[in-house]
Amino acid sequence: MKQAAILVDVTRCTGCNKCVDACVNANQLGDPKHIPQQESDGLSVHRWLAITESPEGSFVRKSCRHCLSAACVSACPVEAMYRSPEGIVLYDQDKCMGCRYCMMACPFGIPRYEWDSAMPVVGKCFLCNERLSEGKLPACVETCPEQVLTFGERSDLLAIAHERIAKFPQKYLPTVFGEFEAGGTALLYISDVSLDFLGFNGATGDEPYPELTWNWLEKFPVVSLGTATLATGLFWIIGRRMQAKLAQQQTNQTPEEK
């Protein structure tokens, strides 16, 4: 599988939260009815998947989008956030320092932190990576009674999504949400309402987020070499000039002293 993905058909979701239940059980996130206080969109370190309400009142899945070029992966200084060969954004808590840059960088505001622990970790959807390797479907996909979720190769799902939109143009908005946002995400949505609210502070742009910092970081060799050369050069040139000046002063002074 080149890029694992999930297609979410928002129009089918009844908000029954069975996917959340399944997610909690599959990932052993504790009591499914335990809702920590530090949340207002339903996500927390104990809840990697939440059903939120759009401004229009539709039920919309909110979870890690598994961006094709993920801001969190590029932000993490120690490769604790990384992409698996299947394109799943995974997390290695043995490497994590807890700087929370991934949380700051995520354009969807997804990663959550274990604030009430003295040894905290980051929590977010890992697309049931372990279940996949056992040949099973992600827990949420397997559980959904309404066939809201479809799991598969991203390109296949994109085709399905566009097909459904073409077949029922009056039912769906003509956009596959997640096809281009933030450089494309593995979570694709088709919907009758705009899903821009899932983005952080309005719609998320199409440009891949890692490029924002890479544009600067790729200048590093030039900047460091440039600064070093400039500093050495200036030191040398100014030093020589001052020596010359000093020498000249001395030669000027010598006759007078005579």
Binding site: C13, T14, G15, N17, P32, K33, I35, P36, Q37, Q38, E39, S40, S44, I51, E53, G57, V73, S74, C76, P77, V78, E79, K95, C96, M97, G98, C99, R100, Y101, M103, M104, A105, P107, G109, R112, Y113, E114, W115, D116, S117, A118, P120, E146, N201, G202, T204, Y209, P210, L212, T213, W216, L217, F220, V223, S224, T227, A228, L234, F235, I238
Partner: protein
């Protein structure tokens, strides 16, 4: 400044440090959530804002090193050492602060072994690590000159350091350039979080130029403070020169910042009258353009008041930019508010307080201030950090310090006991959608009915035998675009409880017209029918209920039951009969329409 005042100021700094130590213990015992105000919506807060401030103020270190060594302006040498020390303490504060901020600080070495060069944070980790080492090397001659280190071994090191100073300085400049600008680049990836008036694709350049300005001005303020404290070591002529040059980096910073905002069309947002726009305008006009104007006037610049005022304004403006960017004007992912907790604030202030004490320690003991008067107290041994005056007896100092420590602990501990410890049960309010109660606005009128979802699930599961068929009762998807059956399909009658026994379905499933005898022994009327339990073994009639369950209560009763039971109970309990009156929820003039006062 008299000795008494000095003692009090030092005591104050110590008190903050003690309090911060208590807060630090709390933070590590209870975790970040209870030890700070940080939360999922605001993962970075006060500590990051302060860190940016420390590093900006440390900018004088590499600037002065460049002035003295690269530009050969030897006359600035007297204030070079204190500039290096400021940088050392600034970066030291950054690192200490980081230890509190990191969730797993014992993994702080990870950037050394697990490289991820696409991360700005990775570059920062390395730059800080290397630059701090460079600063230690640059500063260590000051320590090694002390008579305490007159052994030959130290003198060899000292000699080597003097030889290596130029490469060290150049390395320090390169690392500082990278690091100061990278701190700005850290925020490039979060245009969604940083307020538009502070966001800029040129943040690295803004941070670099402003760090030079802030570092220079920090040296000016430091000069004044040192003079006040030690009655020497100010070097006003040098500080005045710094004041004359600072408009260059500061002007460049302002120019870059304003022109970027203008080019991207964000600048009109500065005039919208919001508090952010006022803060922004203050930063630019009062703390940027005004001091440049002041410093341009020779008379003002050469007056002590003029120079100090300009320096303070510039520092305030740049610190405000750092803190607004990373804290005040930062936008949050969800509606959760952020306000720094007591422990967080104490730690944030405790670190610079400790840095000030260390500065005083060095200044009192070492040849730091760069004037020709030898430090009379720098004799054979270093005076311990906790002493505040040569002639105060040790026991008095001990009494004062331990008193302060006790006071700090006594003050902070009760606050710790009030910290919000996360409680799994303390969550009375259910989310808008979800587990136990769904909020349903059936008529789409904005009036919401709480639908006891779990209750329905459990009852139907019991009645129908399996969870699947329970779900399918309402979520059956046999209609096009069906989502969920409306309440009225079961609660058909508004006023009367109603049987939801579906005769047609039973008839069909039992074989059509020949199936009557399956249930009806004699006449084809309800009274003659077999009770449900004959076939559905789990279905038992409750006391007072018909054998022909399941009954759905009337629409009206179902709705009322969501609120009224509890209201009636509370009305008796609290002796507040008005809680159970119809008019509590229904306004009398619209009695036929459900008009609630509830949200």
């Amino acid at each position: 400044m008299n000795n008494m005042l000095r003692t009090w100021i030092k005591d104050g700094l110590w008190a903050i440090v003690f309090a911060a130590v208590v807060a630090a213990v709390i933070r590590f015992v209870v975790g970040l959530g209870a030890g700070s105000g940080l939360n999922d919506a605001t993962p970075w807060g006060m500590w990051i804002a302060f860190k940016l401030g420390f590093v900006a103020l440390a900018g004088g270190g590499f600037t002065l090193a460049a002035v003295v060594y690269i530009f050969h302006l030897e006359r600035f040498r007297p204030i070079l050492r204190r500039a290096i020390l400021m940088a050392l303490l600034g970066y030291g504060s950054f690192i200490v602060s980081l230890i509190f901020d990191l969730g797993l600080p014992w993994h702080i070495y990870m950037p050394i072994i697990s490289w991820q060069h696409h991360s700005v944070m990775f570059e920062i980790a390395w730059c800080v690590m290397l630059y701090f080492s460079v600063l230690v090397l640059e500063f260590s001659p000051v320590i090694l000159e002390h008579p305490l280190f007159k052994h030959k071994f130290f003198q060899v090191i000292l000699h080597g350091l003097h030889k290596a100073i130029l490469p060290l300085v150049i390395l320090g400049i390169v690392l500082s350039t990278l690091h100061q600008s990278s701190l700005g680049a850290l925020f490039l990836i979060m245009p969604h979080r940083v307020h538009p008036l502070w966001y800029s694709p040129w943040l690295p350049y803004l941070f670099f130029t402003s760090a030079i300005a802030a570092g220079m001005m920090a040296l000016v303020v430091e000069g004044f403070l040192v003079e006040r404290w030690f009655k020497r070591g100010m070097h006003f002529d040098l500080l005045e020169r710094l004041g004359a040059w600072v408009p260059l980096p500061l002007g460049l910073y302002l120019l870059l910042r304003l022109s970027d905002l203008f080019l991207r069309g964000v600048l009109p947002g500065a005039l919208d009258g919001s508090w952010q726009s006022i803060l922004f305008l203050t930063e630019i006009l009062v703390c940027g353009i005004l001091p440049i104007g002041l410093l341009a006037i020779k008379k003002v610049r050469e007056s002590r008041e003029g120079l100090l005022t300009s320096a303070i304004l510039i520092i305030a403006g740049i610190l405000s930019q750092r803190m607004s960017l990373s804290m005040f004007a930062m936008r949050q992912s969800t509606g959760l508010d952020y306000s720094p907790s007591l422990a967080e604030t104490l730690i944030a202030f405790g670190i610079p307080a400790a840095a000030l004490l260390i500065y005083l320690f060095f200044a009192e003991n070492l040849a730091l201030l760069g004037d020709e008067i030898p430090n009379p107290q720098a004799t054979a041994k270093l005076r311990p950090l906790w002493m505040f005056s040569q002639d105060t007896p040790g026991r008095i100092i001990f009494a004062r310090r331990s008193g302060l420590a006790t006071f700090a602990i006594a003050l902070i501990l009760p606050a710790m006991l009030n910290l919000p410890i996360s409680d799994t049960s303390a969550n009375a309010v259910q989310p808008a959608i979800g587990w136990e109660t769904l909020r349903i606005d059936g008529n789409q009128t904005g009036y919401i009915v709480d639908f006891p979802h779990v209750e329905h699930q459990e009852r139907l599961t019991e009645q129908l035998g399996s969870k699947e068929s329970a779900c399918a009762t309402c979520h059956h998807l046999n209609y096009p675009d069906d989502e969920a059956t409306s309440c009225s399909q079961c609660h058909t009658d508004y006023y009367q409880p109603i049987s939801i026994f579906n005769h047609t379905v039973h008839q069909k499933s039992l074989g059509g017209n020949v199936s009557c005898v399956e249930c009806h022994e004699t006449e084809h009327v309800r009274q003659s029918a077999a009770i449900c339990q004959d076939c559905h073994e789990t279905m038992t009639a409750q006391e007072g209920e018909s054998v022909f369950n399941p009954f759905a209560s009337s629409y009206k009763d179902a709705l009322h039951r969501r609120c009224l039971n509890c209201h009636e109970q509370k009305a008796v309990e609290l002796d507040k009969p008005e809680l159970a009156l119809c008019s509590t929820c229904h306004t009398y003039y619209e009695s036929d329409q459900l008009q609630t006062n509830l949200p």
